[in-house]
Chain length 386, copies 2
Amino acid sequence: MTAGIASWLPLSTGERSVAIEVLVHGPLSRTELARRLGLSAGSLTRLTKPLIESGLLVEVAEAGVSAEARQGRPSTPLDVVADSRYFLGFKVTEDMVYAVVTTLRSHIVARHDRPLTTHDPAEVADVLGEMTAALARDHPRLAGIGIGIGGFVQDRAVVGESPFLLWRDVPLAELVERRTGLPVVVENDVAALVESETWFGAGRGLDRFVVLTIGAGVGYGLVLGGKRVPFAEEDRGFGRHWIVDPNGPLTPEGRRGSAVSLLTIPSIRYQIHAATGRDHTYEEILALAAAGDPMPARVVDEAARALGALLAQISNFVMPQKILLAGEGVGLMDVAGKTVEETVRDNRHPLAAPLDLETKVSDFHDWARGAAVLAIQVLVLGSAEG
Amino acid sequence: MTAGIASWLPLSTGERSVAIEVLVHGPLSRTELARRLGLSAGSLTRLTKPLIESGLLVEVAEAGVSAEARQGRPSTPLDVVADSRYFLGFKVTEDMVYAVVTTLRSHIVARHDRPLTTHDPAEVADVLGEMTAALARDHPRLAGIGIGIGGFVQDRAVVGESPFLLWRDVPLAELVERRTGLPVVVENDVAALVESETWFGAGRGLDRFVVLTIGAGVGYGLVLGGKRVPFAEEDRGFGRHWIVDPNGPLTPEGRRGSAVSLLTIPSIRYQIHAATGRDHTYEEILALAAAGDPMPARVVDEAARALGALLAQISNFVMPQKILLAGEGVGLMDVAGKTVEETVRDNRHPLAAPLDLETKVSDFHDWARGAAVLAIQVLVLGSAEG
DNA sequence: GGACTTACTTTTGGTGCGAAACAATTGCTG
DNA sequence: CAGCAATTGTTTCGCACCAAAAGTAAGTCC
């Protein structure tokens, strides 16, 4: 496999901002770029010329249907060559490794999953290496690898602590780099998803943006000034100490009335099991609640109120322009979205700017895609520091 | 009275950043400035020269005791001429107007208060004009006026809505400008205090900073990237809809268990009155609680827990580097600070960065000083937009 | 008093930008 | 179809700003 270059040719700050703007916001004419970046038309000629010569940007023919036939010289949009390079994203779970290959625009072009039968660091790295080799056959121009993992990651390279893999201070980036010859970034999975949504998803171009994930746990990501704010307790059980309702339920995972006890899938299943003695999947519980079964309805209602209170508090304090609700547990919104919205409204000032809430079901490939975005960022920005 | 110039001589962005750095962080040598601003030594010679020539900065002799007798050529710190210009800050309440004169560094050099016997906009402006004239006699070089007012203010000029003055859309800045000939900035009082603390106080140089005020109401200010985030519900009863404890007390001011019902001085006094039938001042209630009187102790304890929960939630979501607790109701911390801290700890992750909480008792002159800082900002930045 | 250290100044050259004139390419009008 | 208006993109020029390097100033240390 060919070793990808570590980063784009050294770009000046002006060139880089042009490149990122085109990468993130699709084909844009020079004039449009000048407007967006606050530069003069002349500067854009200067900045785009080397980018086009290096093959990073291309002039694309205005789509056949020239939409609005405006007067004047037609603009020639510029675009990145999205499939000039490919990126590999891994999501590592307790028993599976999910992989995706994406374009420079983070569009998924291939998927590949494999069960994980060992937790030995070297053997896990072997698995990742083999999967990379397999995927590289069909996608030769791989430029980098991103790995998302549930746990605490240091310097985007070392897994400091992973509860489900039972790892401590495993230099995963180095292990995989040695096996693949490609630059590797490792990051906490929630952080990766947040970066991904900030660059290419719901948080594109926003100044204040929050991501809240519900699934096996609760995850939180804060983006201010377009940059993610890192924090120490990240994915070390965030939300376990976060008390929403002091009289709420107690579960093995979180403290009484905590976000974890009220909202995560295991906790909701635990509550139903403790009350009825029967085991149900999360989807079954939601269906039973929708059908009016009293016990599931109560648990789901309580979860919805907790989520509403949580969202209201985030809105009140952070005042984000948008909150993205993601993860495997957002099915709650389909069944009890109305309760969530009511609770939010009830906990906010009537004059407050309305909450822009986006819900997104994410499967494991979305998490892997988030990791791939990290590799894209490294290539574009030239360093592993976000 | 002499009309102050509207702003400093047109400064380049580099010059302005030097001026602000010296203004906010005290006397600094050129080398130190170069380090802080990330510029070369040569650039600092270039940038400081015109500032010194224009009289805005001066070289100050290293204080007699040259502290640490370091090797090498001694540095010559630069400082602003703090009393080259004075600024006027007003805080307008229902029945009083508080005024302070400050230096460029926002040090208070004079105070002057007058009762307010009318709420007629023109007559209030007259009062402010007369107070300005009186203060201008002793402090001729007034450069600008800042007015802080409880209520909703638009464009830093028009009082859109003030519940206690019963004003709607009063162009206060214009009224006072016409009477004084000085540039006037009007702003919501909490916003003014936040700006003041961001420039000269607890929030100096911080990236993420929160101000929470407790007094007649609850105020909230969010500073991100060194800039205050404006919000629509600002001082239109913030905290009234903000439910801390669903089973908390109900007061005439706020909703059941809201921050207002639990924390504000009127609400605490109301609770005691409703329970015991007796009227006590806030200070008396705190003293009674400290002495162990059960009913006041319960109310104060509940307030402390609410404050702790509130601070924890802010910490968890905004992750500020510091929270400043200000206002007339911070006496609560003296009596029940331990309970507040315990509650904060109880609602946060053990690995989370410890909360940096600063408490500051503010009287009305502090609020007026906050308003004066707005006038300073306008002079230095050259516009009313923060 | 000479060596050394640190602070500041001067000089030089490069970079990045905007302004303005110019070229290109279309639609519209008569 | 010629001419004009509108719009995009290019070229040229000059300015503002900055870093690097070399030089100067002013002190301490031995």
